[in-house]
Structures are given as structure tokens and as C-alpha cells.
Symmetry: C2
Subunit: 198 residues, 2 copies
Amino acid sequence: MDYFSGRMSELVEQLAMLPGIGRKTAQRLAFHIVSMPEEKVEKLSSVLIETRKHVRYCADCCTLTDSERCPVCSSDRRDHSTIMVVETPRDLAAYEKTGKYEGVYHVLHGAISPMLGVGPDDIRLKELMKRLGGDVKEVIIATNSTLEGETTAMYISRLIRPLGIRVTRIANGVPVGGDLENVDEVTLLRALEGRTDL
Amino acid sequence: MDYFSGRMSELVEQLAMLPGIGRKTAQRLAFHIVSMPEEKVEKLSSVLIETRKHVRYCADCCTLTDSERCPVCSSDRRDHSTIMVVETPRDLAAYEKTGKYEGVYHVLHGAISPMLGVGPDDIRLKELMKRLGGDVKEVIIATNSTLEGETTAMYISRLIRPLGIRVTRIANGVPVGGDLENVDEVTLLRALEGRTDL
């Protein structure tokens, strides 16, 4: 890259700092960017800055949003007495896509991981606890089904249960439409344990 | 994405327009960008614009560069009587990395492709022809070993040979370090045809 342009090298450096963008991809992107119409590059550039400046955390659920409160938290058609706890805004988006969940959310922005040195104070747990006064009836823990997600689920349930609020965990089981033979053993056992009457 | 932020959606749109960046990658990048320190986003953003604004085509060889002439074309330690014709600045960079080529380059920014409707006027061929007055002794055609690259090589050689300038083509053959059994048949035949005495 240095063979022709110091600026190109700088752009490649910048792009290669983004997650999942290696040097080769960064080079390919840089070549594309210098061949784009100047207005399009200006647009991309300004959207980057504007998004970073204006996107913030919802005052209630801590998801990313453009305003003080996210659309879910500010809707009065949602059931504010049921809070689903998720790790990331993407998990929230995944549940919103189902169109069937009527409660609200709480986004932790991470999960407790002693291995990575992420403790309860490093995620948005205090913010969740603050919301539990009033008429919250159920907290559904929908953290990932990983070691960290399970640790976080256990930790939160121990904090909340003494408050007399129902704490539930989303089910493990065989994915709908999946072949049994492609499902791992732990999931198969969880699906068996969680069987329901027909 | 719309579930929480219109701005995030816009950023995802913008990122997803880049080549090789799908929707999922664009989302992942967008989430990363809103969590980056604001100065870093400003830096990325300004490098984008500045690079697009200031990078231009070398007045001689048409590669991308920050100045009127690229470092290779403005060096008097290079042999300006030998011009290697390549398709892209990346091909130029690949040959520069070898550190052994002492001539200069010409970057076509593409290859002739009747299939894609790319004709001789759509690549930087006129610019090459203009350089051939004076003391140019050899034109080495290093376009890709693809249908388009070969078509372009043939076309250029027919244009240049009448001028009494030597026209050569880089060799096809077995890659160094490669197992014969993994090399395709056409390459094997080319390697045989191009055999040299030991």
C-alpha cells in the first residue's frame, strides 16, 4: 500500500482496526472507497459521526436508541411489568422480530465472565435492579446459553428472587426445523428434561 | 435494527453498500462503531474523506497516489524505458513487494471484457500509448491470466508491436512451492510449453 500512497495506507490502517476486517479486506475497501463518488464518501463519513454522536443508551432498558427512551420503553402498548433481560441490543432485535413478545427489555451489554474479568459491576445490572421497584411481576432471563450467559442468569436470579418477583429462564431445546442428528448432546438432554405433556 | 434506532439503521445501510460487507457484518460494525470513543470515529470519518479527496491518478502511470506523480514514476533510480502493464494498483503493489523489478508501471484500471461491455476506451490504454514515444524499449504485459487479461494482452501487443517496441508477457507456469498434483491442467501445459534449458 505504501508503494503508491501514504493516505491509502492510513485509510487501510483505520479500516483494519474494525472488528473482523483484516488487512486484505481493508485494502479492498480502501480501493473501493477512493473510486466512489465523492458525495457518497461524504455521506458515509457523516453518517458515521452522526450515528456515534446521537445514538445513546435508553434511560430505562439501556438499549441503543436515538432518543431519551427507546420505542419499546416509551410504548404504552407494551407490558411494563414483564422485563426480558438480554445481553445485547442484537438479542433484543432478535426477539422483536418474532413480533410476539409484549413485555419490555433490559440490555446488560455483556455477561459476567470471571475468565475475562467481567464482573457484575461491568454490565448494566445496577440499572436493572433500579427498575424492579413498583409493579414488575416477572423477569425473564434470556442471556445466551453459554457459560457466561448461564453464570449471569444464576447471579441475577439469586439477586432478584428475594424481592418476591418471579424469575424465569428461556427454554433450552431442539431448534424448530432442525434434524435431531445435527443437535449436540447437551441440547438433546436439555430438550428431554424440558419435555411437556401433549 | 429499526427496533431501536433509525440512525443505526442508516449506518448499517451505508456500511452494507461497501463490497463484501453483508447485512450481518454491517450490523456488527455499526454496533462496534457506536461503542468506539468519539475521537476515534471522527478520525476514521476524516481519513475517509481526506483519502477520497486527495488520492488521485499518477500523471504518468495512472496508479493511485497522493501527488502529481507516484514514487515509482518520480524516481530516477528506476528504468523508465521498461513499462510493466498491470490491471490494478494492487498488482503494482504485488510486483513492488518483490523488490526486484526496476522498471516503471502502467495501471490500466481494468481489462477488456466484451462480456461485461468493457472496451479498450474504458481502460487507461490511451494513456499508455501516449507514453510510448521517446525511449521506451520494452512493454511487459502483466495483466491477469484470465480470459479478460489475455484478451487485453493480445489487444495491446497488436497495438504496440508495429511501433517497433518489444512487447513481452509474463510467464505462465507452476507456482513456486506448489505441488504439481494441485495445479490445473492448463497451467501444467503452459509450464511445459514454457520450459527452459537447464
